[in-house]
């Protein structure tokens, strides 16, 4: 083990941290010197963009999804190794560098396995086929008599075998088969099986390399003063005290470039980051916030959303004449559900090393979710071509969507260009909490009615700022945010309302920067949808599970809910002062349901237990599905009962973990996770467990106390 670790370190050093993970059984893959020492005149052969086999038999798999903790370092290579017939432990895994040949490389949208399920397996199967054909030719036997296993091709009848290394040279000369035969899932040896993640040992010994750990020769450090109102303009800079700080080199004007807008900023450059932070504190910057004191303000924003709830929105869909039927309905409800702005707050703050070289080329070392997007953004910002950008993706110390927004990388580019040195930018926690981008705060305006004890009418009016609109392309006056529509329409929720239903949208803008946050809008609108269905169930005097099953014809949804009911003991009698609540939501093509048990305690409740069920179709590692769902429970509960982000007159009211609390170990309830094996196409795993958590809690609180929570976050110790 020791030797392996040593060689891995050397390897990381040699390759400039472009790689991480599983350099097991190989020494110095890209370091020419050590490579020559071990295997002279070795030939590296790219069988296809994802598989490199050298003539010494070393196998390298390229992972096109950065690992932010979701397990892509295991999941993606597993898809490849399964089809290639190699043992994961013998394989070097490197992170893709954003180059076009690897296709989309963004870890986001819970996409790694579901999007790569076929292409990466095909890449592995194609390579296996090429190697097998090569062996058959060499032995002059029919290819059908040969099989691949554990990094070699075998001819059973003659007892011959050749390793992939011995075959790689000739195999690489073949055409890559476009439609190789994939394994039958019943023959899977890796996919769907419990396997320990091989990246874990480095993560418990301090050896794993995150963005913040990168050092490059000649590097200096920067700390940045950002505009408190996000987009304010600099009136004056007094850097006289800052420059007196020992080790501070210079103070420069810089800028923070978000996808939709560039803001002014000031950077303090020093030979160490502590000095840069001291310089930042000593710097006096006066800002002109202009109108941003009004437009970067959460109370004002939410007031507008509640106003919008009084009017009709733009319809995503309408089945039956909802408006008329709602007006005529006898048993009906109308209410609003609010979710706050939230920071991602990964424990590793935003950071990046950039080196803008004399020839204009740029090298980046950073914890980014999408190396291909990073190249795109750096090219657009620096006005250079993709071949002039090299991106070295490190491990990510948490991301949750934040590190697919590259403002911090572009800051490092700007500063490096100005000072003509490689620079490491590290945001303080205060930068992270006060600057965003955030999950947007949203409002669900809900209307519904029941007839003869059944929920038959439903309207979900989604109101708020649009990520598509603000971050990407703007939304036309009459255009609805399509991402939200996909999430909350009946095509996704699968609820069938016999009388009438409507799903609509109103856009309310803000200058608070927003972006996706774990599970994106599902984390907002799952709250309104699932609590309101619960309210309608009570209006219909029905058990909330039975009321849902009555309007959910979809077999997969039913199976998930029935499994949840069984595992959580839904029908068991509860002690007085105890209540259970449930919720179900489909996101990223996976269905997850959650049941939470709470009991009354003083002025509030205590969370006793959380049971979560997920149907994510085919999956790679059941333990990782559970781990991700555990994480979703914790993040979902945190979003429900801890702190939201609020801005008042252009200033954030939270700054660090004492004001933006996240759940701690002593607050953990008992948790239980169950996977429904549906054998469906792979769905997402990293996010779908989150959306049902908050509404299950809200519904449990109602069951235990009769108090209906409609605004997140709420204080469970004091329900008011």
């Amino acid at each position: 083990m020791k030797n392996i670790q040593t060689s891995r370190r050397d390897f990381l050093k040699a390759s400039g941290l472009t790689t991480f993970g599983l350099a097991l059984g190989i020494s110095g893959f890209t370091k020419d010197a050590s490579l020559k020492k071990i295997t002279p005149a070795v030939l590296k052969l790219e069988i296809n963009p994802f598989i490199i086999i050298d003539t010494a038999g070393n196998i390298t798999l390229v992972n096109p999804r950065p690992d932010m903790g979701q397990g892509s370092t295991q999941a993606v290579p597993s898809l490849l190794a399964e089809e290639l017939e190699v043992n994961l432990e013998k394989v070097l895994i490197i992170q893709s560098d954003g180059k076009e040949k690897y296709g989309s490389q963004v870890s986001g949208g819970s996409s790694s396995v579901r999007e790569l399920w076929l292409p990466i397996r095909k890449a592995g199967a194609a390579a296996r086929e090429m190697l097998t054909v090569t062996a058959a030719k060499r032995w002059n036997v029919p290819v059908t008599e040969c099989h691949a296993e554990d990094g070699a091709v075998f001819h059973k009848a003659s007892g011959k075998s050749l390793t992939y290394g011995e075959l790689a040279d000739d195999a690489s000369k073949l055409e890559i088969p476009s439609d190789p035969k994939l394994k039958d899932p019943k023959d899977f040896k890796i996919i769907g099986k419990y396997n320990k993640r091989l990246d874990v040992p480095d993560r418990v010994t301090g050896k794993a390399v995150y963005g913040i750990d990168v050092d490059v020769p000649g590097m200096v450090y920067a700390s940045i003063v950002h505009s408190p109102a996000i987009h304010g303009k600099i009136v004056s800079i007094d850097d006289s005290e800052a420059k007196k700080i020992k080790d501070v080199l210079q103070v420069i004007k810089t800028e923070r470039t978000m996808p939709h807008r560039t803001s002014e900023a000031v950077a303090v450059i020093a030979t160490n980051w502590w000095a840069a932070v001291k310089g930042k504190k000593a710097l006096v910057v006066k800002w002109d916030n202009g109108n941003f004191e009004k437009t970067v303000d959460t109370a004002g924003y939410f007031a507008e959303t509640y106003e919008a709830a009084k009017k009709q929105g733009i319809n995503y869909e309408e089945k039956g004449d909802f408006t008329a039927k709602y007006a005529a309905a006898k048993e009906k409800l109308e209410t609003q559900y609010e979710t706050p702005f939230l920071a991602h707050a990964p424990i590793e703050p935003e950071n990046a090393v950039a080196h803008v070289k004399d020839d204009g080329s740029v090298e980046i070392w950073a914890p980014v979710q999408g190396p291909d997007w990073t190249i795109r953004d750096v090219c657009a910002y620096m006005k250079i071509k993709p071949e002039q950008v090299k991106v070295n993706v490190t491990l990510l110390g948490g991301a949750f969507g934040r590190k697919a927004y590259h403002d911090f990388v572009l800051e490092a580019c700007h500063i490096s260009k100005e000072i003509k040195k490689p620079v490491k930018v590290i945001w303080t926690r205060e930068d992270d909490i006060t600057q965003g981008p955030y999950r947007p705060g949203m409002l669900s305006h809900m209307q519904g009615f029941v007839e003869d004890g059944k929920i038959t009418g439903y309207h979900h009016h989604a109101i708020g700022e649009s990520i598509l609109g603000q971050v990407f392309k703007g939304l036309k006056e009459d255009e609805a945010d399509s991402w939200i529509g996909e999430e909350i329409s009946t095509g996704n929720t699968k609820y069938h309302f016999a009388a009438a239903s409507k799903v609509s949208w109103t856009h309310v803008k803000t200058d608070i920067p927003i972006v996706w946050w774990r599970s994106v809008y599902a984390s907002n609108f799952g709250w309104g949808q699932e609590c309101f269905i619960d309210e309608l169930a009570h209006l219909a005097k029905k058990d909330p599970l039975k009321a849902r099953l009555e309007i959910l014809p979809d077999e997969r949804f039913r199976k998930v809910l029935e499994t949840l009911a069984e595992k959580a003991g839904w029908d068991e009698k509860l002690a007085k002062g105890t209540g259970k609540g449930l919720a179900v939501f489909k996101s990223f093509n996976s269905i997850s349901a959650c049941c939470i048990t709470v009991s009354r305690k003083d002025q509030g409740v205590k969370i006793d237990k959380v049971v979560s069920v997920i149907d994510c179709g085919y999956y790679v590692n059941p333990d990782n599905v559970k781990a991700q769902t555990e994480g979703n429970i914790v993040m979902g509960l945190t979003a429900a009962i801890k702190d939201g982000i609020t801005f008042t007159n252009g200033a954030c009211n939270q700054s660090n973990y004492h004001q933006y609390n996240i759940m701690r170990l002593n607050e953990m309830p008992a948790i239980e996770i169950h996977i429904v094996d549906s054998g469906s196409a792979p769905g997402g795993v990293g996010e779908p467990g989150l959306p049902p958590v908050a509404p299950a809690l809200g519904n449990a609180v109602f069951a235990a106390t009769g108090k209906r929570m409609r605004k997140l976050p709420f204080d469970i110790a004091n329900l008011g």
Binding site: K196, V204, P349, G397, R429, N656, I662, L665
Partner: protein, 163 residues
């Protein structure tokens, strides 16, 4: 600037830094031990936890000038005597880390707990570990790994001393 002779993981480290520089940045950027992490800068998250004379300390709030000449600093790199310790093995068995960024601090807090209490109850774990945040939400596995390590220590000849 002042010169400090520190003992880090049993090795002498000489640094020339400002007296108010937190031990965190001394360890990371001057001693080159990157396993200790920055999270909040206010001792709120525990990612920077190291041991000073065996006691857990938040290195982001520990000025290097407060470290005495005879004080022994231990970081995640100094745990386990060059091998995986019982507690690190327990972390692997339970597959605790997701992103892993906070886990150096978690492990340092857990080692300190087990050194002072070989059979911690859930309540003991709550009080020792609640200063360490994990945004990935690995708390349930951390608790299991601590119980596992405690059980392993009882049957291991190495015992707590080698942890």
């Amino acid at each position: 600037m002042a010169a400090y002779n520190l003992s880090v993981n049993g090795k002498k480290v000489k640094v020339d830094v400002e007296p108010d520089m937190p031990l965190l940045w001394v360890v990371r950027d001057f001693a080159g031990l990157k396993g200790t992490k920055f999270g909040c800068g206010m001792a709120l998250c525990g990612a920077c936890t190291v041991h000073v004379n065996g006691q857990p300390a938040r290195s982001c709030q520990t000025p290097v000038s407060s470290i005495g000449k005879n004080d022994k600093i231990t970081t995640i790199e100094g745990i386990g005597d060059g091998k995986l310790s019982i507690i690190q093995k327990a972390w692997i068995e339970e597959q605790v880390p997701q992103c892993g960024y906070c886990q150096s601090g978690q492990i340092m807090s857990a080692v300190a707990l087990l050194k002072s209490n070989a059979s911690p109850t859930d309540a003991d774990i709550d009080s020792a570990m609640s200063g360490n945040l994990c945004r990935c939400g690995t708390y349930d596995r951390i608790r299991k790994a601590i119980h596992r390590a405690a059980a392993e220590m009882k049957v291991s000849e190495a015992g707590i001393g080698k942890m």
